[in-house]
């Protein structure tokens, strides 16, 4: 788990650079309260304390990464409380939760939609410590998130390259694809995750959006596809949330099917659903299938299935 924290750090540093120290404040609050709530819950219910195992740190970081820098300081605390107590511990703690806690918290926090959508341009100076950020003092662009423009069919103005290295409005941790990819490579090298889920997720979304752009007569389906790939926290979701051990299948084929499912659902939600944000819902929906995926895609037993062999012989 420490490796995952390390892998998330480039994105964190980048967000501090782009959005200022308030990114760090929010992250620290989310991490601190995630670990704190886990400890408290386990202390009160007299379970073994596992709050030190870094898993809550990862959850906390991901929760903060999924909010805009303008979020009030109580938001990460509420998010962590929901993720740790309701999604994780009430289901029995690490390894037993059904959906990814950080993702569930993000969806839960979306009920404060005006807060969760209050994005600012990079390099806007915001107080790192004031509890709330008033929209009068800064230029909030809540109406036109990159994905929202994509949905209406117009390609947004920011350049693809800026989206790639992450100089755009967006959530703290999701803006820089480059930084997230660094983390991905680190996780692969350290063998923390395998590439199956991330790759099949991204490739499916790429294929689907390219085809859709092509079929609907988009002038540049390739560019349309790239905008889809570089927007809306796809890389954050595909690298760090969809690959969560607890909520992804065991076998390689199961992982690939899981990734394809995530990719397809993301595309469908984004294009046909009434909602620009598809990644979170797609992963959450696929999370609920892992029990079946594990059973369907389990590896062939060495020497063949004994039951069948018995019947034959």
């Amino acid at each position: 788990m420490t490796d995952v924290v390390i892998a998330l750090c480039p994105a964190l540093f980048w967000s501090i650079y782009v959005f200022g120290w308030r990114s760090l404040t929010l992250t620290i609050l989310a991490v601190g309260s995630a670990v704190g709530f886990e400890y408290l819950f386990q202390y009160i219910t007299k379970r073994t304390i596992t709050a030190g195992d870094m898993s809550a740190v990862v959850t906390g970081m991901l929760i903060a990464f999924n909010m805009p820098v303008t979020a009030p300081l109580w938001l990460p605390v509420i998010g962590s409380a929901f993720a740790i107590i309701i999604v994780k511990q009430l289901f029995g703690g690490i390894g037993k939760n059904i959906v990814n806690p950080a993702l569930a918290a993000r969806v839960f926090l979306l009920s404060w939609s005006n807060i969760m959508m209050a994005f600012v341009q990079p390099m806007t100076s915001i107080s790192p410590i004031s509890v709330t950020v008033s929209s009068e003092t800064i230029d909030v662009i809540s109406t036109a998130t990159p994905l929202a423009t994509l949905k209406t069919g117009m390609l947004d103005q920011s350049l693809l390259l800026e989206k790639f290295y992450g100089f755009i409005p967006g959530c703290i941790g999701e803006i820089s694809v480059l930084m997230l990819l660094l983390g991905f490579i680190y996780l692969l090298i350290r063998k923390v995750i395998t590439p199956h889920i991330t790759m099949s997720f991204i490739l499916t979304l790429a294929g689907f959006t390219f085809l859709y752009g092509y079929l609907t007569g988009n002038a540049s389906p390739f560019e349309y596809m790239l905008h889809h790939l570089l927007s809306g926290g796809l890389f954050l979701g595909a690298i760090f949330m969809a690959t969560d051990y607890t909520t992804s299948p065991f076998s390689p084929s199961g992982k690939i099917i899981f990734g394809i499912g995530c990719g397809l659902l993301t595309a469908l939600i984004r294009i046909f659903g009434g909602y620009p944000e598809g990644v979170s819902f797609a992963i959450l929906i696929m999370n609920s299938f892992i029990w079946y995926l594990d059973k369907w895609t389990r590896p062939r037993v060495f020497g063949g299935n004994p039951e069948k062999a018995e019947k034959k012989g």
Binding site: I94, G95, V301, G304, P306
Partner: protein, 436 residues
């Protein structure tokens, strides 16, 4: 590419004794020799209390059934016979012999003087039986019966020198110190089983031994060395065959069904010695090691010597010793009683410290799945077994688990996976038995 198989784990090898030559232990005052050290019917004692016995003298046999004779490992007097409880819960008769320290060898033992080429297969098999040779890899199947079952079916002999378990180095030492015994023993086995091809299987962490053996082979078209990637459990019969041929043994199939028969290195050496000197299997080669053993060694010990005598010879135990294990740390069996004795199947005695106790929890990382040589889902098996959902365990092919321990070894959540699986298998077997 070195030959290998899918799954398994790379372990911390702990081959601390790889440079320790095989020593012969000082003879103990007593040996207690159990009348069952093999799969098959127990032996009936051939001696009475008060009898004088000599080294190599047959003291137990059961000619009527699948069995294997047992010989005295020291010279002395039969002091008593007693029934003792074995680790699997049954009672076995032990012959306790007091050493007279004369080291007198039975006069009935004589070298085999006829040329191997003129000796019939039946004669060799008879001789192998009389020498009391059994498989020494743990299962202790009588070797003569294995040869008989392989005749006409198997076309390749594999001599298993993989020695893939951590700590164990005794086969490594045997290969370095007595390569000719292994090779000549292999030749005898080939003649007995009427097989024209033998492969000596060695892992690539013992290249010096592989070289030594290869140098001593005269005709490489008959006997050859194959080197395998070092990975546990390469020494498992299924994975040896798979790595060599790509054939997967089905559940219930024996190696001979797909053309192979597997013997271990020490059996070859014992057979060779039985032919050249007449001495049957009366002493055993073992590795004595573990973090809690004061001075680890490779030893040749008389069968029936107590663990206590062996451990004393190795300087005793350190204070933090928690477990004594016979065999490798992965497949070995924990022992509670230091009066237990070394038998034909004993390959190692390890003294290990306590494991750090942590609350086990599965984080579903999937490492056990990748490590499982039988391609099962150990995490789910453990989970269903721990909530007693045995039907689900069965559906997930729990019975194919060979209890190699890879999953437990690799698990970052310290889940005692194999323990859960063993319980469930036991329960399922009991149910099966009830149905019948």
């Amino acid at each position: 590419m070195r030959r290998t198989f899918l799954g398994g784990v790379h372990m911390n090898e702990h081959k601390n004794t790889a440079k320790s030559p095989i020593e012969t232990i000082t003879p103990p005052e007593y040996v207690a020799i159990p009348m069952q050290q093999h799969i098959g019917a127990p032996c009936k004692p051939l001696v009475n209390i008060g009898d004088t016995v000599l080294i190599g003298q047959k003291i137990g046999d059961n000619p009527t059934a699948l069995s294997c004779p047992i010989h005295s490992s020291i010279s002395g007097t039969v002091e008593r016979m007693e029934k003792r409880l074995t680790t699997n819960g049954s009672f076995v008769e032990y012959i306790v012999i007091k050493n007279d320290y004369k080291g007198a060898v039975s006069s009935e033992l004589a070298p085999h003087t006829i040329l191997l080429g003129d000796t019939s297969s039946e004669k060799i098999i008879q001789k192998v039986r009389e020498a009391g040779v059994v498989g020494m890899g743990g299962a202790s199947f009588p070797t003569y019966a294995k040869i008989q079952s392989a005749i006409g079916k198997a076309s390749v002999i594999i001599i298993n020198c993989a020695e893939c378990e951590p700590y164990l180095t005794i086969n490594h030492r045997l290969m370095l110190e007595h390569p000719e015994e292994i090779i000549n023993g292999t030749k005898i086995l080939m003649r007995a089983a009427k097989i024209k091809k033998a492969i000596i299987a060695i892992e690539d962490n013992k290249l010096d031994a592989a070289e030594k053996i290869a140098d001593n082979i005269t005709d490489h078209s008959l006997i050859d060395v194959e080197v395998f990637k070092t990975k546990y459990p390469q020494g498992d019969e299924r994975q040896l065959i798979y790595a060599l041929s790509g054939i997967e043994l089905k559940q219930g199939q024996l190696p001979a069904d797909v053309g192979f028969v597997i013997f271990n290195a020490e059996s070859c050496a014992v057979i060779y010695n039985a032919f050249t000197t007449g001495m049957p299997l009366v002493s055993k080669l073992i590795t004595v090691d573990g973090e809690c053993m004061k001075s680890p060694k490779n030893l040749s010990v008389p069968i029936g010597i107590s663990f206590k005598d062996i451990i004393d010879f190795c300087g005793g135990l350190t204070h933090n010793c928690d477990r004594i294990i016979t065999g490798g740390p992965m497949m070995g069996v924990a022992q509670w009683d230091l009066n237990s004795v070394a038998i034909k199947a004993t390959g190692a005695i390890l003294a290990l410290p306590a494991l750090t106790e942590t609350e086990p929890h599965c984080i579903r990382c999937g490492r056990c799945v990748r490590a499982c040589q039988m391609h099962l889902l150990p995490a789910l098996l453990a989970q269903y077994a721990s909530i007693n959902d045995f039907d689900m365990c069965k559906e997930l092919n729990i019975m194919s688990c060979v209890e190699c321990g890879c999953c437990t070894y690799i698990c970052p959540g310290k889940v005692p996976i194999v323990q859960h699986i063993r319980n469930a298998k036991q329960e399922l077997r009991a149910r099966q038995a009830l149905k019948k």
